[in-house]
């Protein structure tokens, strides 16, 4: 294999890792502030992707679709939080896990009813739909670079948010204390609602971004969910840095795994996780 | 001077940039009750946590019977004979008082492979549990579910559990917290009795109790040892008085 093929795989790894990071950071945000473990997080990734598919078919413009999709996701997130998740805050992890597991089933079936079980493609917007040459005979799709770029931007914004704001401080501290937050003069219910919506919107946005390259298919949320769990375990909850490093590691493990050992690619990521667990059970980066 | 049962030398514990305990040394002898005093935030609880193994050291060493146990985990130290009670009641609320102590005593005779034996049939363990309950003043209260015990009784149970593990060293974190006068008096009597054949370290705010039973006193402030010695010496110390001036202490030194 020559250098340019490696380069392509490296770029793919980075892009995949960054997308995972986006999803995982939504997960970590929700857990960090509200202490809820949410299995349906992957479903929002899927919902985002399907929204991108249907809205871009409707409007003919992917960006407009994404914009609409984000708005819809936020609304959906707020409604879900108000209806269901607000009841979970004081519950045990087991109950949260089970309830959100039930949600996955509901979302999957709703998807099946509404959008069917077929695989769909989402067209890349024309002005991004070309490749830039890397070497004489290899080129790389610009849209994938676009994905990586957007994810990096968001990563930067998240970093600023977590490092420089009071809310961010609470995430870093781990689980928030409702009383402490209230003493800071914030309306805690509103904050929880917004944070939840933001977390879900992140996952949905990731799905929307990814839809043109990954296609839209049943079960796409589940794989992403489990991998974002692995990101959180490896990187440590409450650490944006950790999530980024872990997501990139997984991106590389998965991509290169598929290249070198296709039969074992699925396992590669988990072996990586197992190795890291042996070495550092609390995650690569302890809480800041 | 007899060798210390449990001792810390230069014990230090950092949290981020802050040293909660800074270069503290202390010695616990069998037959002695060593009280640790100090205002809130002095580092007393952290010190107990370091000795018991609840927290790892940042620097310094801890020795038990001369052996360096600084790296040993909490459960290993307990099995060696270092017992600890908690300031915030740390019992098994849904179990009866007896079961609390029985489970504690079982740690000395765990028999994990006897999966077909009924745990209650181990008479030695059950007897140790009964003894511990009695010692702590809870005789006859064994069948009561721990969560329904009064606060004072729960503090007694807290001690009973440690006693059930038959330790050499007792690290007691504010055993009198929240107790009424009569219960306190009983606890002080118990402490006096325990001091006779254990090495006892007592972290307390109740000054009267401390001066009634302590053989030695160490006063901490800002994570460091301010002064350490016999009770009369501490009582007379100007430095100690100064540290307590301005404290919301009901009782005075």
């Amino acid at each position: 294999m020559d250098a340019s093929v490696y380069l392509i795989q490296i770029l793919n790894s980075i892009q995949y890792g960054l997308l995972l990071f986006l999803v995982a950071s939504g997960l970590t945000l929700i857990f960090g502030i509200m202490g809820i473990i949410n299995l349906a997080h992957g479903s929002f990734y899927m919902i985002g992707a399907y929204m991108a598919f249907s809205l871009s078919a409707l409007t003919g413009n992917l960006f407009l679709a994404i914009l609409l999709g984000i708005i819809l996701s936020v609304i959906l997130g707020i409604v879900l939080e108000w209806l269901l998740f607000s009841r979970l805050y004081r519950r045990e992890h087991l109950e949260q896990v089970l309830l959100t597991f039930g949600l996955i089933l509901i979302f999957e079936e709703l998807r099946s009813i509404i959008a069917g079980d077929d695989v769909h493609g989402v067209p890349i917007p024309a002005f991004l739909n070309y490749s830039i040459p890397l070497t004489e005979n290899q080129s790389y799709p610009v849209y994938r670079l676009f994905i990586s770029g957007v994810c990096l931007l968001i990563a930067g914004a998240m970093y600023l948010f977590i490092q420089r704001t009071r809310l961010g401080m609470m995430i870093r501290a781990g689980n928030t204390n409702r009383e402490m937050a209230q003493s800071l003069g914030v309306n805690i219910n509103l904050i929880y609602r917004l944070v939840f919506a933001l977390g879900m919107a992140l996952a949905a946005f990731a799905g929307m971004l990814a839809a043109p390259v990954s296609s839209v298919f049943p079960g796409m949320g589940n794989q992403v969910l489990i991998l974002s769990f692995v990101v959180v375990v490896i990187g440590g909850i409450g650490s944006v840095w950790g999530a980024l490093v872990a997501a990139l590691l997984i991106g590389f493990a998965d991509t290169f795994g598929k290249v070198f050992v296709p039969d074992y690619a699925g396992i590669a990521v988990y072996l990586l996780m197992a190795a890291i667990l042996l070495w550092r059970p609390e995650g690569l980066f302890r809480r800041a | 001077m007899a060798e210390a049962l449990l001792s810390a030398a230069g014990a230090t514990r950092h949290f981020g940039g802050l040293a909660a305990v800074n270069n503290v040394s202390i010695e616990l002898q069998r037959g002695q009750l060593h009280a640790v005093l100090g205002p809130n935030g002095a580092g007393k609880s952290t010190l107990i946590n370091l000795l018991s193994g609840d927290l790892p050291l940042s620097a310094g060493t801890i020795r038990y019977k001369g052996r360096d146990i600084s790296a040993l985990s909490m459960d290993r130290r307990s099995r060696m004979g270092v017992g600890r009670s908690y300031q915030k009641t740390n019992i098994f609320p849904s179990f009866t008082a007896f079961e609390n102590c029985r489970l504690a005593a079982q740690s000395r005779d765990p028999r994990p492979f006897n999966i077909f034996a009924n745990a209650l049939h181990n008479r030695a363990v059950s007897a140790a549990a009964e003894r511990a309950l009695e010692q702590a003043g809870l005789a006859g209260r064994g069948e009561i579910v721990a969560a329904t015990l009064s606060h004072g009784e729960q503090r007694q149970l807290e001690i009973a559990m440690v006693l059930a593990t038959d330790p050499d060293v007792l690290l007691l974190d504010e055993p009198l917290a929240g107790m009424g006068a009569e219960e306190s008096a009983r606890m002080v009597e118990l402490l006096r009795k325990l001091a006779a054949d254990h090495a006892v370290m007592l972290v307390e705010h109740d000054m009267d109790a401390v001066f009634a039973v302590a053989d030695r006193i160490t006063v901490m402030a800002n994570g460091q040892v301010l002064e350490s010695g016999l009770p009369e010496q501490i009582r007379a110390s100007a430095a100690v008085k100064q540290v307590y001036l301005g404290e919301d202490e009901e009782r005075h030194v």
Binding site: V97, I106, F229, V233, Y264, I267, Y270 | Q106, P112
Partner: protein, 329 residues
């Protein structure tokens, strides 16, 4: 453990009798259905040991169910029946050993991390069977001949016979129940419960808690494997879906449906779950929607499960128990 109150004891005896007599009056379809329920009951009881009694919420328990199921298929010869006496212990031991090894990794984590890593490791096992050629990949493999229960040349009972198999599973379910009851009264079992109620204090009292957790994880894995073995024998077929996280979620649901902290709860939960599944799938192709809705409703309004109903019978005029059941600590 406390002896059950009279009303509950009577209910159980009646249920046991009903189960025992069931095959006499019913068609093979229903006999097989109840057999499946009993297999799920064993599966659920095994998870209850872990979740309800030791406080370890595992979202990857299907891995051990599946490993044992694959084990019997893979170690059985292709063209003749294997011995029950060999394959059953072997499969259970393989499942237990897998649980032991995975436990060494996952038990380094706690709380929400633990839930996530158990899920992740189960996925790894899933991919092991799905992506590689092991056990036929995503297509699965068949168990051509069910294991035989032969003694000195004489066939004691025939696993292929619906009624025989039914009573075999029934006997095993009772054995598992009695075994767990015994285990939970033993020093080891008491320690498990202590860990659930107050893990920190257990450390403080001198228990090497990790080792105990590993023991619970291993035993639960072995018993879950027993259920998987029986499932493979019943259907004669295994594929990666039996290890999927849906399966892990389902068995967790059975435990909570029935009510944790009791041993009969998971049996009731398995029964309720399978019946709901049958009922819903007969109603619509999109039955998972109904199942999901049921799960949400149960967790929101009924988190104590069926056993919480039984509790109300229990506390009516009954003497205070010697050891109160460990509920949410």
């Amino acid at each position: 453990m406390t002896p059950l109150p009279k009303t509950l004891q009577a209910t159980f005896l009646a249920s046991a009798l009903a189960i025992a007599l069931f095959p006499l009056a019913n068609s093979p379809f229903y006999i097989e259905l109840v057999t499946k329920i009993m297999i799920m009951a064993i599966f659920a009881m095994s998870l209850d040991l872990l979740v309800g009694y030791t406080g370890l919420v595992s979202f990857g328990h299907a891995a051990y169910f599946g490993i044992a199921a694959y084990a019997v298929v893979l170690i059985s010869p292709k063209y003749e029946a294997a011995s029950l006496w060999l394959t059953l212990p072997a499969s259970v031991l393989i499942a237990a050993a897998s649980a032991f090894v995975i436990g060494l990794f996952v038990l380094r984590t706690k709380g929400i991390y633990f839930i996530m890593v158990t899920l992740a490791f189960a996925q790894m096992v899933y991919f092991l069977f799905h992506d590689t050629g092991l056990g036929g990949g995503s297509d699965g493999t068949y168990l051509n001949f069910k294991p035989e229960a032969k003694l000195a040349g004489y066939t004691l009972f025939d696993l292929g016979n619906t009624r025989h198999f039914y009573y075999f599973v029934f006997a095993l379910m009772l054995l598992v129940y009695l075994f767990l009851r015994r285990l939970l009264q033993s020093p080891l079992g008491r320690a498990f419960i202590g860990i659930k109620v107050n893990e920190h204090r257990m450390w403080s009292l001198g228990y090497p808690v990790l080792r105990y957790k590993l023991a619970s994880f291993t035993i639960a894995g072995g018993l879950g494997g027993l259920a998987g073995y029986l499932a493979a024998c019943q259907f004669g077929f295994v594929n990666p879906e039996i290890l999927s996280w849906h399966q892990s979620g389902n068995v967790l649901l059975m435990v909570i449906l029935g009510g944790m902290g009791t041993l009969y709860g998971p049996i009731a939960g398995a029964f309720a779950f399978v019946m709901m599944q049958e009922y819903f799938s007969a109603l619509t192709k999109h039955w998972q929607l109904l199942m999901g809705g049921l799960i949400v409703l149960v967790v929101l309004f009924f988190p104590g499960g069926l056993a919480s109903l039984a509790d109300r019978f229990k506390t009516r005029g009954v003497k205070k128990p010697v050891v109160a059941e460990a509920k949410h600590g």
